[in-house]
Amino acid sequence: MEPGRDAFLARVRAALRVGHVSATSSSNGAKEPAVARLEDERASRREALARLRPLLVSRFRDEAERVGVRVRGPVAAGDVTRTVGEGLAAHRARRIVASPRGFALPEGFDVLSGRDGALAADAGVTRCDFAIAESGTLVVIANEDAPRLPSLAPKIHLAILRIEDILEVPADLFLFLSPGAPPSSIVFITGPSRTGDIEQTLTVGVHGPGVVEVVLVAEGTPSTR
């Protein structure tokens, strides 16, 4: 440990002693459940979400549309490829980058890859790991089969989402993430890239995609996780 760190932490400790204040409330924020309880909690939450599913799907759709996301489906797993193709064609995308993990890509598009591919592509096609119904949010987690750029660099993002993966609130996501180190990147995407920096005028697509579309996949599709 370098000396700067020791001195830094020593200063913090000294300041903590001098400025001690009693907390205004005694509870402890989010509780850390023991592992056994965690499994129980997950199982019961999973059941509750399954019961709520029709509501969650319609809430997700409403909220996503409210922030400017077009939602297609739910379609059967066998129809995902065709629906993705329709979405791409509707926006006249030709060159695409994709990490569809488990779904075939539609024919007739130039499929690019890598960083340069993502920067040159018209559209990115990705799976979503989860969604949050309350805010119409897509959750995209990076891994070796799911790079970060396809949902970010092109002007169009087309996302494939299983309805089983729609959660209610952010706390559900943290409950279902595997314990231990989180993945290198978890991104919450709520609508298109937006700015109001010039005259408070809402403008989409300033850095990330200006078009975000979701293809919902009906129940019974295998998970990629």
Partner: protein
């Protein structure tokens, strides 16, 4: 950013004379206020979440030393590097050193108040490293060579014509003055900078001690590009940004955007844990976290001001503040404007560097009402006022005003004398009054009536009316009985 908070009064005069600025501010703050109100009106859990957020911050700060150690350990365990910086100079030196070792000549930056605070851009430029701000608002004010005027809408004072002129003069823009065209141009221009940059510099909204995860909240996607395209990512955080557990983010993510812009969630929230993993295709290969003190331990050691470290920089207190709404952010003279800035600036820089800021408040309390972590801002401003006055008294002795107030206090504690002098005042002031108001007091008191009227003391003063009203048989000790109250 070099503080000019000592010249607050001059700044205020300039700001008040700038009608364009005032119109832009009124529109922007009014919009944010109503968006926030709507968001919380449709959010019954809001109150409970604010309490939880407060509790988490209290816990995080009360054991800050442990949380910082844990954070550093977790970041390093995921292959990241952690640097502890005692002050702004140390933090800048560390970032420059990282850049030099890797031969970086161009850095891209996403919006971060903390990097403004340490004046990182100036330091990097001085070391020969070009820095490009990539948040559209920050990009605009970087081109215009100004500082941000709002925590979350830094270029709120610029019109589209001004932006177009700026782009034409500095970047050879040849398009029209429309907002979409300007945004499209900025996207293309900045994309090139992202691709060429050797380093991306970001701020941090929350850092999770348990996992070493940093959370970055934004709407444009420039922070995602900043942390994804360049090979090196340097994140800079004030040490108070730490929260104990990943699950704590669930609370803050639901109130931050609602408080700031009325959105349920900002467009993008990135939770990043260390650099990209082996076999991952993109994301920075190297991750550095700079943890900054720079005066924060002074606040930590201060039982009155400590709670200002709970601030999550949503900007809600700015939008509702009648003072901020009139003068805007630049007038505060440093990085943090509005009520929270009026607390943080004297707290970080020392009261003598910003002696007027604690007084830049009507103490109306709107800021405390909207604060998502319930910082008692008016009380903290009062604490600072007391310090400024005590310091003035120590160095300069009592001034005329303090004698007036002392006499006033004495009078108030002597009821019969007070009543007599109120009568006397009415008698003396009556010849100056028109319709019960005085629009020009004489002599040294003239300043008071320059911008407002002074009311003539009432013929029947309040205490007399009160006595008459409650001296009826049913009232005990001057306290109204319940039956009378419902009359």
């Amino acid at each position: 950013m070099k503080p000019t908070s000592e010249q607050f009064r001059e700044h205020v005069d300039e700001a008040l004379a700038d009608w364009g600025l005032r119109a832009a501010l009124a529109a922007a703050t009014g919009r944010f206020v109503s968006l926030r109100q709507d968001a919380f009106a449709a959010f019954p859990e809001g109150g409970a979440l604010r309490d939880q957020a407060r509790t988490i911050k209290e816990e995080a700060i009360a054991r800050l030393d442990e949380h910082l150690e844990q954070l550093a350990f977790a970041v390093e365990a995921r292959g990241g590097n952690v640097h502890f910086a005692a002050d702004a100079d140390a933090a800048c030196r560390m970032v420059i050193e990282i850049a030099r070792q890797r031969g970086v000549t161009l850095a891209v930056k996403s919006k971060s108040m903390t990097t403004e605070e340490i004046a990182l851009n100036e330091a990097l430029e001085h070391a020969g490293i070009r820095v490009v701000e990539t948040d559209l608002g920050e990009f605009i004010i970087q081109l215009a060579v100004e500082g941000p005027s709002h925590l979350i809408a830094p270029a709120v004072h610029k019109t589209r014509e001004q932006v177009a002129t700026l782009f034409r003069e500095k970047l050879g823009y040849s398009g029209e003055d429309s907002v979409p065209a300007l945004c499209a141009f900025a996207r293309e221009f900045l994309r090139g900078e992202f691709v060429r940059a050797g380093m991306g510099v970001s701020g941090v909204n929350f850092a999770v001690a348990e996992t070493g995860t940093i959370a970055i909240v934004e709407n444009e996607g420039n922070a995602r590009l900043t942390t994804t395209l360049p090979p090196v990512h340097v994140a800079i955080m004030g040490m108070e940004k730490v929260v104990p557990r990943l699950a704590d983010l669930a609370v803050f993510l639901r109130i931050l955007a609602r408080s700031a812009t009325g959105q349920k969630m900002s467009s993008y929230v990135s939770l990043l844990t260390g650099p990209r993993r082996e076999r991952e295709e993109d994301g920075a290969q190297e991750f550095h976290l700079v943890i900054l003190d720079n005066g924060r331990s002074r606040l930590l050691a201060d039982p009155e001001l400590r709670e200002s470290l709970y601030c999550i920089r949503c900007g809600a207190c700015l939008n509702v503040c009648p003072v901020y709404r009139a003068i805007g952010g630049h007038a505060y003279g440093w990085v943090y404007p509005g009520p929270i800035g009026a607390v943080l600036t004297p707290a970080y820089l020392g009261e003598s560097r910003a002696p007027d800021l604690p007084f830049a408040s009507t103490l109306c309390g709107a800021c405390a009402d909207v604060c998502p972590v319930k910082i008692a801002l008016p009380h903290r401003l009062l604490d600072l006022r007391a310090r400024v006055v005590a310091e003035k008294k120590r160095t300069k002795g009592n001034d005329a005003k303090s004698y007036v107030f002392r006499a006033w206090a004495w009078l108030l504690t002597h009821p019969s004398l007070y009543r007599a002098s109120a009568k006397l005042a009415r008698f003396a002031l009556k010849p100056m009054a028109k319709d019960g108001r005085i629009d020009a007091l004489p002599g040294r008191l003239a300043g008071w009536t320059r911008t407002r009227d002074f009311p003539l003391p009432a013929a029947e003063p309040f205490h007399a009316r009160w006595r008459k009203r409650w001296s009826q048989p049913s009232a005990r000790d001057g306290t109204p009985s319940t039956t009378e109250r419902t009359e």
